[in-house]
């Protein structure tokens, strides 16, 4: 049975997949199977996001299969990615 960790990421209890194209992202945490792209704020969002301070990033997690944006985080260098996952009975999802 397909369940969702986020609207963009599904899981069958073992393997996480892109909800748009079905590309397998691997076992939890799903972000390990995504493309991670850390954009400096000023590059990510234009002038309104350009605070004049380096070191803050818009972190994008992208499906390697269809290039859809699966999730974003505001992050500083060195911060681990947030770990969202389902707790399903008897499965590592």
């Amino acid at each position: 049975m397909t369940r969702f960790i986020l609207p963009t990421v599904a899981t069958d209890g073992t393997i996480c997949t892109c909800a748009a194209c079905g590309h397998a992202l691997g076992p939890a945490p799903w972000k390990r199977g995504a493309i991670r792209r850390d954009l400096p704020l000023a590059v990510a969002g234009g002038a309104a996001y350009d605070t004049g301070h380096a070191g803050v990033f818009l972190c994008q997690f992208i499906c390697p299969g269809c290039a859809v944006l699966l999730d974003t985080e505001t992050a500083m260098a060195g911060d681990a990615a947030l770990d969202d996952r389902l707790h399903l009975p008897a499965a590592a999802n």
Partner: protein, 605 residues
């Protein structure tokens, strides 16, 4: 019990809270209360547990319950009919010293049967900076008058010595007196209406209905939780002050019919007054929980029971005395609001059944700016820029966020008219409008925040001063959902006028003549022809921006809320000469954005 009687009593309790809120607003003379709606009224059971949470700032509902319990403990055996108690110590229950709780027992036929509690942000509390938010405070002792509980009215009679002592410690005592009297009026209305209800239905019947109401809320909330997926969702917030960054980190775990909010990993308490106490953190996580998960469930103790909070002692979300906390409500508490909104939003979005009730984060970053100084009528004014309550809506799975759409933790927040502010202070607005590119991009765009600029205007002292507790100028805080971007961060700019500058006009930051200097924390002047410019954050977006309807992007550009640059670079929408979307060029742009995304090597953490 008889369902008709239960239903009637339940609705009467709603109306009692509503009428008490109206009383509070109408008696108060303070813009932060009657314009910004920085207030709260709720009813509590005889043991101090939450019975009927009202509107206003929802992070007060649980902490005011703790205030009731603290008063019960302190005054056991001395609580008389028509007493009114005051409590504002953050290490006992309050959020910060300037949010004063008045807690009033409700008796029927000689027996204590319930409590009402309310708060307003009083005009001043005697902290080292006017207005209560004290960015320069180094400890709780520099944050003004603070009481873990005192009797303000004894059986309906004002204790004048106590009132005079309080008023002797604050700036603008006439306004603080009015603040306190607005809350006393509120308590009186709550008590009178409860008395009428108790007289009509008898105390045992009302008590049975109240107990049933709490049980009903618990049953309904647990059932809702069981309908949502089990899992964990995380969020992270950054608070930047004076170049120092503090993190609030949250893991929310939902198991069956229980929720655990674990703030382990959050940074140690700060030397700056952005910290919050554990009661404040608890209130902070409930502020989005009540409206997002319990919009159709009465907000009471039954909702609190399935929830557990873990907040490490000594951290920014459970600081230890005497750490300063005066900026908590727009500091750590608001970050707890935002973090909880994000994790709850993710959990709702994970459920196809509940996805349309998920939201990206709304207005995540208040800017507490208190103007103070001699006014144009020969008096002295202190007041907040109520634009901080104007907010911005987060995007949902089916719609854009509402522009200038308020905030989740306060369903009735709003801002004052420009004319109201100009009538109270010797200032003039250059402009106030929606801020371009502030709404978080997404398939559905976050609502825009706003931008504004003010100058002094015929001020008798040549100008006024302001206290600013402005974080969020480095980090976006209104997080997006499902690939949506966060809303743009805040910006605070002091524009130093050129020496010979004449009074002028401007319609955006770039057209204000002078030299811009970012400011964020402390006390600053607004004199001569200098201007203060503020931009506040938009709401978070929902979904991939390159999936947004190109026609919607073109319409946003036409209305000025999205720039042509953002349309091309973020949304991948090319504009035709007539202002509409160029379909072929848009397909090409979006293809190029996908290619660029895939060009990044797959990176394991």
């Amino acid at each position: 019990m008889d369902p008709m009687t239960f239903s009637i009593i339940r609705h009467r309790l709603f109306r009692i809270v509503d009428e008490a809120v109206i009383t509070l607003k109408h008696v108060s003379g303070s813009a932060i209360t009657n314009e910004g709606h920085d207030l709260m009224v709720s009813l509590y059971r005889a043991d101090g547990t939450l019975l009927m949470g009202g509107v206003g700032f929802l992070h007060h509902l649980t902490s005011a319950a703790e205030a009731c319990k603290a008063i019960i403990r302190r005054f056991q055996g001395q609580i008389g009919e028509a007493d009114v108690y005051l409590l504002n110590d953050p290490y006992t229950a309050a959020l910060h010293t300037s949010d004063i709780y008045l807690v009033a027992p409700i008796h029927h036929e000689g027996r204590l049967v319930a409590w009402s509690a309310c708060f307003v942000h009083v005009t001043d509390i005697g902290a080292m900076n006017p207005g209560g938010f004290a960015p320069q405070a180094v400890d709780i002792y520099s944050e003004g008058f603070s009481s873990p509980g005192l009797k303000l009215l004894d059986r309906g009679e004002m204790r004048q010595d106590v009132l005079d002592t309080i008023l002797n410690m604050v700036r603008s005592p006439e306004m603080v007196s009015l603040d306190l009297r607005s809350m006393i009026a509120c308590c009186n209305v709550a008590r009178d209406r409860m008395s009428a209800l108790l007289t009509k239905y008898t105390a045992p019947v009302v008590d049975e209905a109240c107990a049933a109401l709490v049980e009903q809320s618990e049953t309904l909330f647990r059932a809702r939780l069981r309908a949502l997926p089990d899992g964990q969702w995380q969020s992270r917030q950054y608070l930047d002050v004076q170049g120092e960054t503090a993190r609030v980190v949250l893991t929310m775990t939902k198991t069956d019919d229980r929720l655990v909010f674990d703030f382990t990993g959050s940074d140690p308490q700060s030397r700056h007054s952005i910290n919050c106490t554990k009661w404040a953190a608890l209130g902070g996580l409930f502020a989005p929980l009540f409206p997002l998960l319990c919009y159709d469930i009465t907000w009471n103790e039954g909702v609190i029971r399935p929830v557990t909070m873990i907040a490490p002692e000594g951290s920014i979300v459970n600081c230890t005395r005497p750490a300063p906390v005066s900026v908590a409500t727009v500091g750590a508490i608001q970050s707890v609001n935002n973090a909880a909104c994000t994790t709850i939003g993710k959990m709702l979005a994970a459920s196809p059944e509940y996805r349309d009730q998920a939201t990206a984060v709304w207005h995540a970053n208040h800017f507490a700016i208190f103007k103070f100084g001699a006014n144009q009528r020969g008096g002295y004014s202190i007041g907040i820029l109520t634009e901080t309550f104007a907010g911005a809506g987060g995007a949902r799975s089916f719609a854009d966020g509402v522009d200038i759409g308020g905030e989740i933790p306060n369903p009735i927040s709003r801002m004052a008219n420009v004319e109201t502010v100009e009538g109270a202070f010797p200032i003039r607005y250059l402009f106030r409008r929606r801020a371009p590119d502030s709404g978080g991009p997404g398939r559905y765009r976050g609502g825009t925040g706003g931008e504004m600029a003010i100058v002094q205007h015929r001020a008798p002292a040549g100008g006024i001063d302001y206290v600013i507790s402005g974080k969020g100028a480095r980090h976006p805080m209104s997080e997006g959902l499902a690939g949506g971007y966060p809303g743009a961060p805040n910006s605070y700019v002091w524009v130093h006028a050129d020496a010979e500058a004449a009074p002028g006009s401007a319609d955006r930051l770039e057209t204000i003549p002078g030299t811009p200097e970012p400011v964020s924390w402390g006390v600053y002047p607004l004199r001569g022809q200098d201007a203060l410019y503020v931009r506040w954050n938009g709401g978070g977006g929902y979904g991939d921006p390159i999936a947004r309807d190109p026609a919607a992007v073109a319409a946003d550009v036409t209305s000025g809320v999205v720039s042509a640059r953002a349309a091309a670079e973020i949304y991948g929408v090319a504009l035709a000469p007539d202002g509409g979307a160029d379909s072929a060029a848009t397909v090409a742009l979006r293809g190029a954005i996908r290619t660029a995304r895939l060009a990044v090597p797959e990176a394991a953490e």
